[in-house]
Amino acid sequence: MEDNVKKIMHVMRRAPHGSIYTYEGLEMILIMAAYEQDLSIAFIGDGVYALKKNQDTEGISMKGFAKTFMALDGYDVEKLYVDRVSLEERGLTEDDLLVDVELLDSVEIGRRMTEQDVVIHH
């Protein structure tokens, strides 16, 4: 890998619509994806809800953006890590998610964090 390619991990930690962090985080990821860096996204805690199928934002007057996560593949952002326990604690399984992800134990997610040049939390 070239010297100027950085390993950058984005960490989604919140439910998608209680605050703007997930949405603006996704905007950041989409721009960074154009720069051909080694991007990954980890979904931990309430962050796993960002990927949940069948979200309906009509009643809260907010733009739904869950489907944008499905477009990440087209931007070559393919490393999507989901914390297994966070998912289980919320009564969800991989089948409830919009995209294919890698289910990992928190220790493994932590290990991958330490491999990064940059970690940005959202």
């Binding site: 603006e24 905007e27 950041m28 721009i31 720069y35 860096q37 040049d117 939390h121």
Partner: protein, 133 residues
């Protein structure tokens, strides 16, 4: 961002640092911690390349704030750091538009730019440190 981790960087060999600040002034400690860290890093001889403002962090860059006299002036502090130490203070344009931050009300030494610049900052520095909730 733990203080122990920040201390490790401060005491390391000289590095080039970019800062990402994700919270607004006064409402949250992050704006103060980011400033204090940048100040300490400069004092230790590190290079602070840029402070990129995102989310409510863009509110750090308005010159309209008018805090009480006996409090710290966060916007002035950033402005002074930009002018005295060449630190770029950059507000994300998309985040700024949402929050009414424009070139007309920008602090001296600050400017509005895109997320591509943040990516450049991440690439060209030894460290990109994120301060936020």
């Amino acid at each position: 961002m733990s203080h122990r981790f920040l201390a490790t960087i401060l005491n390391s060999d000289k590095v080039k640092i970019g800062i990402l600040l994700k919270e607004g002034p006064y409402n949250h400690q992050a704006a103060d911690t980011a400033y204090k860290f940048a100040e300490a890093a400069i004092k230790k001889g590190h290079t602070v390349d840029a402070v990129f403002l995102y989310n409510d962090g863009v509110i750090n860059a308005t010159n309209l704030t008018d805090p009480p006299q006996d409090d710290r002036n966060i916007a002035d502090r950033w402005s002074k750091m930009a002018k005295e130490h060449g630190v770029e203070i950059l507000a994300c344009i998309a985040a700024s538009k949402r929050r009414g931050i424009t070139d007309d009300i920008m602090i001296d030494g600050g400017s509005i730019t895109g997320l591509g610049t943040l990516t450049d900052i991440a690439i060209r520095n030894d460290r990109l440190l994120t301060f936020g909730d």
